[in-house]
Symmetry: D2
Subunit: 390 residues, 4 copies
């Protein structure tokens, strides 16, 4: 394999890429109709982290694992942290969960009842305690809150209560900690969602302060939305805190990032680089996916490789030529320069580059050949498989 002329120029940048894995991607997931189980599925947070470490081992791309509380509650987070480090990874973002307790049927941080709001706030304060134990920087908040029927809830007062609740949580953050607020177009609520769009996440986090940022989940938009525009705008505003990468055909499908529309992923990464969001600690790259029918560890390997490949293409974009064509209003010329980067097959170069860094040329093959999958399928018999959802 050979390195193409322009590839060496991006090697250093590629070497600094880090993508956080979600612990829940290693558990079973599914739709409201069915969650299929799989041999070898982890039964506790320790096994999830061991699996996540496999992804990093073969790709060098995934040094941290995000936790989800209470799914990943353990008695001793210092011990879990040590376990992660022993496996070559670190614990990352802490995700709160206010959608699986019966008390939250009609809201959590927005609930009309102060007691339930306080319960939800306390859950977040507990998450911050976990962050101190794990050394995590980011508290990521996705709110499943909303309503199913017009008239069911008063959207305005919920928005105000949301601000109050978030303020209380925000005030508890340490100096080096952040609150990252995700938005989502719909689901599990079908009429209204309390944080449905980037605008709402922006105004809510702007009202909190500099340690509050927006999380952009690539699957959480209306059909036809130009996501890279939002990336551009949030970077311009200094408010893009993190990505939840995945892909979708219709709704929030949570498929492997890059699987549904690789060109969209490329455009997003181009805009990330354009706006200074690449190799920038303020902009975290994370996955948020479900592997309903495919194997989970290979699914995560494919995902980080997809991000890496599209990042390489985006880094190859000849921006000097592009700017010249744009300023000359050479529509087809500019588009061709743009597409030239997208159409470049970087796989052989990446394989050679991986080998030069002591990684397997083909991480997927290396993992499949390792015997790990067979081993966990044999070992992890009995117990309750970790699941996602209800």
């Amino acid at each position: 394999m050979t390195i193409s002329p322009s590839f060496p120029g991006i090697a250093d940048q590629l070497a600094r890429q880090q993508i956080e894995l979600p612990s829940w991607a290693f558990g079973n997931s599914g739709t409201r109709f069915k969650v299929f189980s799989t041999p070898g599925t982890p039964r506790d947070p320790y096994e999830k982290i061991a699996d996540a470490a496999q992804v990093h081992r073969y790709t060098g791309l995934a040094p941290t694992v995000a936790l989800h509380i209470p799914w990943d509650l353990v008695d001793d987070f210092a011990d879990l942290k040590r376990h992660a480090e022993e496996h070559g990874v670190a614990l990352g973002t802490v995700n709160s969960n206010t959608f699986q307790d019966d008390d939250y049927k009609f809201g959590a941080l927005t609930h009309v009842d102060e007691k339930i709001r306080q319960k939800a706030i306390d859950h977040h304060l507990q998450c911050i305690d976990v962050m101190h134990a794990t050394g995590s920087r980011d508290l990521k908040i996705w709110l499943a809150e909303g309503s199913n029927y017009p008239g069911q809830e008063d959207m305005r007062s919920r928005q105000d209560r949301l601000h109050d609740s978030l303020s209380t949580i925000y005030d508890r953050l340490g100096d080096d900690q952040r609150l990252v607020l995700e938005y989502k177009f719909f689901e599990p609520s079908f009429y209204h969602t309390d944080v449905p769009d980037w605008g709402t996440s922006y105004v809510q986090t702007a009202a909190l302060g500099d340690k509050a940022m927006v999380c952009l989940d690539t699957g959480h938009h209306a059909p036809g939305t130009n996501i890279e525009f939002i990336v551009m705008q949030l970077l311009r505003l200094g408010k893009l805190g993190s990505f939840d990468f995945n892909s979708r055909f219709y709704a929030d499908d949570d498929l492997i990032v890059g699987a549904a529309d690789p060109f969209q992923l490329f455009r997003i990464l181009v805009e990330v680089i354009r706006g200074g969001g690449y190799d920038n600690p303020d902009v975290a790259f994370m996955l948020d996916q479900c592997h309903n029918v495919e194997d989970k560890i290979p699914g995560q390997i494919r995902s980080v490789l997809n991000v890496q490949e599209m990042t390489a293409r985006a880094l190859l974009l000849d921006r000097v030529a592009l700017t010249a064509a744009q300023e000359a209003h050479d529509v087809l010329g500019a588009n061709e320069i743009f597409m030239d980067a997208f159409q470049t097959d970087v796989r052989a170069d990446l394989a050679a580059w991986r080998e030069s860094r002591g990684l397997p040329a083909n991480p997927m093959r290396a993992y499949l050949d390792s015997g790990y999958q067979q081993q966990i399928a044999e070992d992890r018999v009995g117990g309750v498989q970790a699941g996602w959802g209800a």
Copy 2:
């Protein structure tokens, strides 16, 4: 309360309206994130039917209950039939289920493995046996089959296998039985669905014969689809076998019919009447909904009342005047005649008419005052609540 001048003319037609209830609407349902439980939820098919009978008791609109196999499997269907009759209702459409068995992870009627196809076919033959025991006419087939990733499956050969499987099932139908094939745009598969649109359901059922018809679920279309056009076309082709009524804002939300877009429901009913599909035994009206956050029996009462109210408005449409305006290309005049029917508040007339037929003027109020809900909440303690989904 008084009867308006034009209302008497539609009273007879209203009296013949029948809407089938889904047994599963009385069990718990939810999203992939959470299924909330509710006091009083049925624990077996007998209790579901008892609850469904309450809807009919107060509305006079819901004389039959659809079953879902295996959710509603009982040892003795003749006994279940008697139970229903004692409660004043009958058993209706039988719905098959090929989406909750691990064997069907990669398809059922379309599966590449003949053994699994045969298992799925056998399930449908078993459903036909149930139909003989219950006296049901219709076998309704909704297929959750499809794929999540491009390349995962060969769509073409699946379509051919689907035809073969359906043919085998079709051949087993009795002379007075029908097969009704539902289509769905997406979910639980996210890349491709084997019966995604009315066109596919039409060509598949047309290839079977006259006893195969299309089921139109109002929530199973792409954004912006003109559903009443499909109603018109299927009636024109003699292939509209049944409706699954519900409503949606975004995806297949399965909300109460008429809740999201009452004007769309009106337009659909206008087209049903226009095409001879109303009070026509060949076109079954059914509900297919989930009451995730609202009470289930009242949710079903609201649903059948919504259909009744919009049917009344649609029946009030002055078709002679409308045709004259249409033929004169009086765009605003025609639209005004159309909207005049939609904007007519029929609730007082319906209340008076109900009382004249020995029904409560306000079925919802009558049910809520009956004490039934409190009674089942007290009685149905222990046991496993009936659920929907995984």
Copy 3:
């Protein structure tokens, strides 16, 4: 005709409703495929205002007319103002136009070339001059800017140039004048739009100051967007400057407001009232529609009546009962209270109320009987009919 018990309570509020008409609604419009012409179409701004005055004469709802520059350029705006006043109406919002000059093929306020940006800025300064002559308060800016192909333009620098251009325009505003920035999801650009969503319009206007507000056009959103949520949020932020009312099935169809989804219009108006945006001079109600196949003056009459009817229903909403049901988490009860207002047929009450105020009970009938339409069809022969679009 009789007044229902609850109607008198809203009469005063209804009496204060004002809806601004767009001068361009009276000219011919169409699609990229064809613009059909109609007898009687105005040939200059004077005739457009005369037609708009007819709408106000029969409805009492439309006391002002928005201008579009350069479509409505006249030599003497003081004279046009007098003409309007003689017809019983006033001149309202001034709309700029930067989409029909060849220079703006690749942008106007965002153009990479400073000379073209300056030309576009100057056009807006000219509009402000017109505002001084007409006494208009609002400068409404809709930008057709964007790109068709990925890579064609640098979205980020365009956003920065947009800020600079708007700042220059903003600085020229008089103390009592406002700049209102419209957003639009897509069209005429198909890949990216420089102000595609409320979030962008919000951050751009927030960066300008208190005299800059957001204009919400009801047709300018992605499929499935909850528009009333945006209304709520912008009112909460104090940034909802005006509405462009119309309706849509698919894209920016610019159909008669309330024609496609009357329930959505109701929900929007409920949220306007909830948030203090009704009868609030800071929140202007305007129409922005195209009457491609229907007569234009009757089309505008139907439009303002649709808004009035839905406003009446929204005002009838029993908020005390609604709040109680919401706080009790009575989902179906709250929804029923909400729907009760929507389903109330207010037409007879409105007719009686109109007569009590010296207006025709049926404004549409009164207009059609007036002979005006026949008169203009006869009189306005020759000359070039005013058109909209290219």
Copy 4:
């Protein structure tokens, strides 16, 4: 440049690819807001064909040009045919036009007035006469018919009249001629379209006979539609007559094919090949695009190259391996095989292959260097530029 190992195997198939160009792509086009003009735009059908011939000259891909009647009406079609042949191309599909005559405001083939229907039928018979003169095989019918407001038209009787009108046209076809019926989701009608989906086009053409086929325009679907599924189904039914290629982000944007979602174009071509639709004279490949802001001849060159590049990738798909992975339910393996073909950069191979066939390695560069564009810009001064739309 070198030929990769697998490329030679597809060279013969690539050599047989033919893509028909639309004459109207060379005229000016735009949106309802503005049509920008361009130096060098053709002023008559002769100049359009001369321009189209340039595309074929440099790519070898576009041997035929589709005509649009009446836009391309000439006194002597035999002369136009000779003109085409002299330029190295042939005349292809004849497209009818029933959307730009005032008589068709409320329909053409579906119009309630028999005289107008007959006028529209006669126009199609005239098109068949043209086909005899030009030697064209296909009559392509796209109907702009529909309505803007619910109640405006009776959809059912329009569907029946459509059948009658099409039958009359169909009966006039010669033995070797075909009727190809396009469907379109929406626009220029906004409420209902008379042929909105593949199902309607299928049932209408199936009712005519074997010489009637469906035309699939890739831009004419609802958001989220799986277009390759439709390709599969129509090929399976033997009813896919032709493609109108283009691409879209939101509506019917008519952008350069492959520009918005190259992976979708790949998937479509994979399914074409899978179903026997490639190199099959029954399945015509055509472009239907608008070059609103980019140069037209280069825009067409880019378009046919995009189709060629994606065809090459689709032909490279290892179907044996794919089938094996599919049958083993190796979801990630199958997807990787699929993506491997998509990610292969075929440009260098194609360039070498072109040179081996006497074509320029880089057709775009060759055209731009030829001086043709400058020549027509100088020569074609005066006269009325050919336009598309109103």
